[in-house]
């Protein structure tokens, strides 16, 4: 099937404006600007069921509808911070199919009355940003950005901006703080960005992939879009396959594809090894095992397995993987990336990393698993943003699913303390 998002794989040079336009590009924008009111645009996007592709899955049309109608200064923020371990879809979209992202964002701007779009790239993505800057320049030169877009009275600017290495800046309020020139630290919502966002003005924050979905919804209609996927999870999704598969990379699928099918698409397990576990949402969602492989890739598909689709960054691990090691890698990430604003997250990630490090070095004690559990319990529900919740997921889920591996890290592991600690999981 032809790609809807990764269209550069079907159409050569679609990063160039003339090629993009020759293949239906900017028709969605034209339709919006010349045939529809902003409210009608929001209605179509709402009816399409499109939900945010940045991880949380909030319905996009509803988000746009939150922007006050009488607001004078409104901003669109594209979130290309993409720093979650195992995630590399927004980079490919930005480098290879930038116009589709730009078009989606201009449509969003029209829908909510924004006159400026900022695209926030993580600092390490300057190459991808450069590709998008070139596309933006083409738009300015051809009446697609700037004053009187496509000859209408709608005007809008587009600015690429670059962070400087901080995963937390992907969190929408931290992103706003970073763009304002502050340290990228989240604030406690409310106020929500739709009411008080960038420079305290109403702001829509959407993921890059979310934006790329918008143009064709305008052209083909909501029904076309809802004909793909499931009732609650419509449309296509880019899945980042990494780890122990034969052919890691991005795969565009229709929502509802199973994790087993995804592994097959990625060429199966590397070197014919047996599957052991996978992280469905980079480092931030709980691990799942073989019993969940037939679950569908949807926002709700992993509910029964205590996990989440998230941004669909699937890190596959084979039978040779040490799960305590994997948990340690992930907690190292979260400790490193904790912004330090709230104590439970700052201290909790520090302690969990210390304990896991000790376990990995063969210096673990029987109490360690208890410590991990109690630290996690102290973090749960007490952190200012979701990073703190993400951090405990890989640890608790590996303790739950692979208790024997934790036990094996400690000598004399059959003691009662261990049994008790594991039983509380």
């Amino acid at each position: 099937m032809a790609h809807i998002l990764l269209r550069h794989r079907d159409v050569e040079n679609i990063h160039k404006l003339d090629v993009y336009r020759a293949n239906g590009g900017y028709e969605g924008l034209k339709k919006a600007l010349t045939e529809m009111t902003p409210a009608e645009v929001i209605d179509v996007v709402r009816a399409s069921g499109l939900r945010g592709r940045g991880g949380a899955g909030f319905p996009t049309g509803i988000k746009w509808g939150f922007i006050p109608k009488d607001a004078e200064e409104v901003y669109i923020l594209i979130n290309t911070d993409e720093s979650e371990t195992g995630t590399f879809k927004d980079r490919e979209l930005s480098e290879k199919n930038p116009h589709q992202v730009i078009e989606g964002a201009i449509i969003a701007a029209y829908a909510v009355g924004a006159k400026r779009i900022y695209n926030y790239f993580r600092g390490e993505f300057m190459d991808a940003g450069y590709a998008m800057e070139e596309a933006v320049q083409e738009c300015y030169a051809n009446g697609l950005l700037g004053e009187n877009i496509l000859g209408t009275d709608f005007s809008c600017d587009f600015v690429c901006h670059y962070g400087a290495g901080a995963y937390i800046c992907g969190e929408e309020t931290a992103l706003i703080k970073s763009l304002e020139g502050e340290r990228g630290q989240p604030w406690s919502k409310p106020p929500f960005p739709a009411i008080e966002g960038l420079y305290s003005k109403p702001t829509v924050v959407n993921n890059t992939e979310t934006m790329a979905n918008v143009p064709q919804i305008l052209v083909n209609g909501a029904e076309w879009y809802t004909s793909m996927g499931t009732e609650k999870s419509t449309g296509p999704k880019i899945v980042c396959m990494s780890g122990h598969v034969e052919n890691p990379g991005n795969y565009e699928v229709i929502m509802g594809t199973t994790y087993r099918e995804l592994i097959e698409m990625a060429g199966g397990m590397r070197d014919g090894k047996a599957f052991k576990a996978l992280l469905p949402s980079g480092g931030s969602g709980p691990v799942i095992t073989a019993d969940a492989l037939d679950a569908p890739l949807t926002y709700e598909g992993l509910d029964a397995h205590n996990s989440v689709m998230g941004s669909a960054s699937v890190i596959v691990m084979d039978e040779t993987t040490d799960m305590v090691w994997a948990a340690q890698k992930m907690i190292h990430f979260f400790h490193h990336e904790s912004c330090g604003k709230c104590t439970p997250c700052r201290e909790g990630t520090f302690w969990m990393e210390k304990v896991l490090h000790r376990l990995m070095n063969g210096q673990g004690t029987e109490k360690d698993i208890e410590t991990l559990n109690s630290v996690a319990a102290q973090m749960k529900g007490r952190t200012l943003c979701a990073l703190g919740e993400f951090a405990i997921n890989p640890v608790l889920s590996t303790i739950r699913l692979f208790p024997e591996e934790y036990k094996a890290k400690v000598k004399n592991s059959q003691s009662e303390d261990w049994e008790k600690a594991l039983a509380t999981q």
């Binding site: 371990t85 600092g123 901080a166 020139g181 990228g184 691990m317 890698k329 490193h336």
Partner: protein
């Protein structure tokens, strides 16, 4: 002084925001490009252009991992050894690099050319082992490709001719 060297670029960057404080990261990127790291002078200069307290720039330099607060080698090799890459040999790759350059992780070679760092996910997990040097990607690496890269960078350094960095290319766009 970046204020002189990049006067037009800086003007263009400032024009992109209703509040000039927002330009602080772009200017810090330019300053680091110019001075190699966020020296005190570099931070003072950025603060001066934007009417900020230098301690604010200092706090940003500490917060954002791409800024170096100490001098580094000419090329900073940032090798991803986060989980997805580690599943495809990144830890072994880091060891190999450190052995070849004869420095520990975090160290700088005696000739001042290379600093090696282990970093978190760089959005290239499907192309592990991989690294970034001065914000450029080098992917699908193995020992041979790494040797070639090092040879290439040594040559580039010796020639004294450096292609414009992506930081400069992007800043140049702000001029338009």
């Amino acid at each position: 002084m970046i204020a002189d060297k990049y006067a037009e670029e800086i003007e263009g960057i400032l024009a992109r925001f209703p509040h000039k404080k927002s330009a602080v990261l772009p200017l810090m990127h330019l300053a680091q490009r110019e001075y190699g790291y966020m020296s005190e002078d570099a931070m003072r200069e950025v603060a001066g252009i934007l009417d900020l307290d230098p301690t604010h720039v200092l706090s940003l330099a500490g917060f954002y991992s791409l800024f170096h607060e100490e001098p580094t080698g000419k090329y900073v090799l940032e090798i991803c050894n986060d989980l997805a890459c580690a599943l495809r040999g990144a830890d072994e790759f880091v060891e190999m690099v450190c052995r070849k350059l004869d420095i520990p992780l975090g160290g700088t070679t005696e000739d001042g050319l290379f600093t090696v760092k282990g970093v978190m996910c760089l959005g290239a997990c499907d192309r592990a082992p991989m690294l970034q040097y001065n914000l450029k990607f080098a992917e699908h690496l193995d020992e041979e490709k790494f040797d070639n890269l090092i040879a290439y960078l040594r040559e580039e350094a010796a020639s004294g001719e450096e292609p414009p960095s992506v930081v400069e290319k992007i800043a140049a766009y702000a001029k338009k």
